[in-house]
Point group: C2
Chain length 162, copies 2
Amino acid sequence: MQKKLPQSNLYLREEELRRGIELLYFAYRDFTSDPDEILAQTGLGRAHHRVLYFVRRNPDTTVSGILKLLRITKQSLSRVLNQLVEEGYIEQTPGTQDRRQRLLKLTEKGEAFEKELFSTQRQRVAQAYKTAGPEAVAGFWEVLLNIVNDSDREIVLRQIEK
Amino acid sequence: MQKKLPQSNLYLREEELRRGIELLYFAYRDFTSDPDEILAQTGLGRAHHRVLYFVRRNPDTTVSGILKLLRITKQSLSRVLNQLVEEGYIEQTPGTQDRRQRLLKLTEKGEAFEKELFSTQRQRVAQAYKTAGPEAVAGFWEVLLNIVNDSDREIVLRQIEK
DNA sequence: TTTATTATGTCAATATAGCTGACATATATA
DNA sequence: TATATATGTCAGCTATATTGACATAATAAA
């Protein structure tokens, strides 16, 4: 069956699977705590951060673009987006081909704030990358990408290769 | 079938850091959606899952053990734990040395339910491990462990080596 | 032995982030 | 002209967390 068995399958035992689950939980928790501290001072929350992040990464995306990417409802997005627009972090311009659309992008204030939020996570991730080394990082990406739903992998790949 | 990510030496640039951030976000989201579906049918939520998970992994732990591990308040835990005890998933016994403590462990019902929840995530993670291979998995662990707060690393190591 | 501390529990109020359902408007498409 | 789409809004509900105040029983320290 399996021609090239690189090593044993010991890494598929319950212990190793639980290790992944637990590391994912703890790492994700600490990783999200960095921006949370900054956000707490501004009256914004994680939901706002996610929108800022992905608008920054996808300038001139539409409302429905964000909805699909984040898999939330428009009612949820609305609360967050309205606040970000009112407070001058995001600006909306009507679509050029389709004027029903609202194209989203960060204002200068939004750019600056996203940069500040990003820098905390950048630092954490860069330190982890450096400590673990490039091959470990490649493995980290590979496993995470394969944890993503098959049906989402295309959209995620498009995102990370932007 | 397998999507190969470009192997890059310049793994500390903004692009690669954002890749990690995004993969972490999407993978974590999909990874938690598996148990969520089952939980939705029972009237329990993620918070209950976490408690079941870590009580299963640390039988006869105490209330404050769980509080420290999950970093939540006792008021938060209370809601969840009471429900799990009332519905027969967890049983509490007084501590042997210190009778103020409540030692927690899963009942048979709790064990069965945790197993069901775990199996969904096990499948997802095992598939990702298999696709990525043992070396990638080692890198995955290494990077995640280094993303964890320095101050938490000891406790996380103790957990995953149990 | 008295006092202080610890482990746990509870009540109340609040915040955040999501959801469903219903309805509205403007624009694009068939 | 009729229908579908992109977006927005109102209202109500849920899950998960927080802080603060107070209570009880058991252990540890004075």
